[in-house]
């Protein structure tokens, strides 16, 4: 069966520090991968998606970037965090051509 791992679960970082969140999927090949952010009391906003290694599409302009160095690995990064980057970050995967996505447990990021 497929599983998705996301870490760390929580993170407190100072303004201006770098960020690296990692997500890996097991039990499937060539998945579509996604990074979403959820602000408090809000729905999920799609940040990035990837349909293959090295193929990244950004949905909103921001201080973050994403990379997919391997088929089942998706990384969310920032060189210098802003206070507004605080939020709950969720990684997700889906089978190519399928509608439903499956989510990781999320990372709660607090920038102080």
């Amino acid at each position: 069966s497929q599983t998705i791992h996301q870490w760390p679960a929580t993170l407190v970082q100072p303004v201006g520090s770098p960020l690296s969140l990692e997500c890996t999927v097991e039990g499937t090949s060539n998945p579509n991968l996604y990074w979403y952010r959820q602000a408090a009391g809000r729905g999920l906003q799609l940040l990035f998606y990837s349909i293959g290694i090295g193929q990244i599409s950004s949905e909103v302009p921001q201080n973050l970037s994403a990379s997919r160095p391997q088929d089942r690995q998706f990384i969310l990064s920032s060189k210098k965090l802003l206070l507004s980057d605080s939020g709950f970050y969720l990684c997700a995967w889906s089978v190519v051509g399928a509608a439903e996505a499956f989510f990781g447990q999320g990372t709660r990021l607090t920038v102080v």
């Binding site: 996604y34 729905g43 906003q45 998606y49 509608a99 996505a101």
Partner: protein, 113 residues
Amino acid sequence: EDKVVQSPLSLVVHEGDTVTLNCSYEVTNFRSLLWYKQEKKAPTFLFMLTSSGIEKKSGRLSSILDKKELFSILNITATQTGDSAVYLCAYVPLSGNTGKLIFGQGTTLQVKP
């Protein structure tokens, strides 16, 4: 701009009550509509709706889509405290194989004993 609007934003009921959550959408290229339940962390998939008028059912939960009026409802009968969660509605646009989801704000449901 495509958007998904959920109502109410929050709801408090007592165990045994029946609730109806609403999701309306304004989209240009509709493929499917999904419902998720988010308790603490990862949203878990509930239903996918593609055709109008066909009810999807799972235990005490059911959902239906109206593609003419552009909305979906999620019903929960005989609510239990374990139903307390944020319920998210999302639509899937026709955009090749990307599988992007556009989410509504969510409805926070609290079921009191």
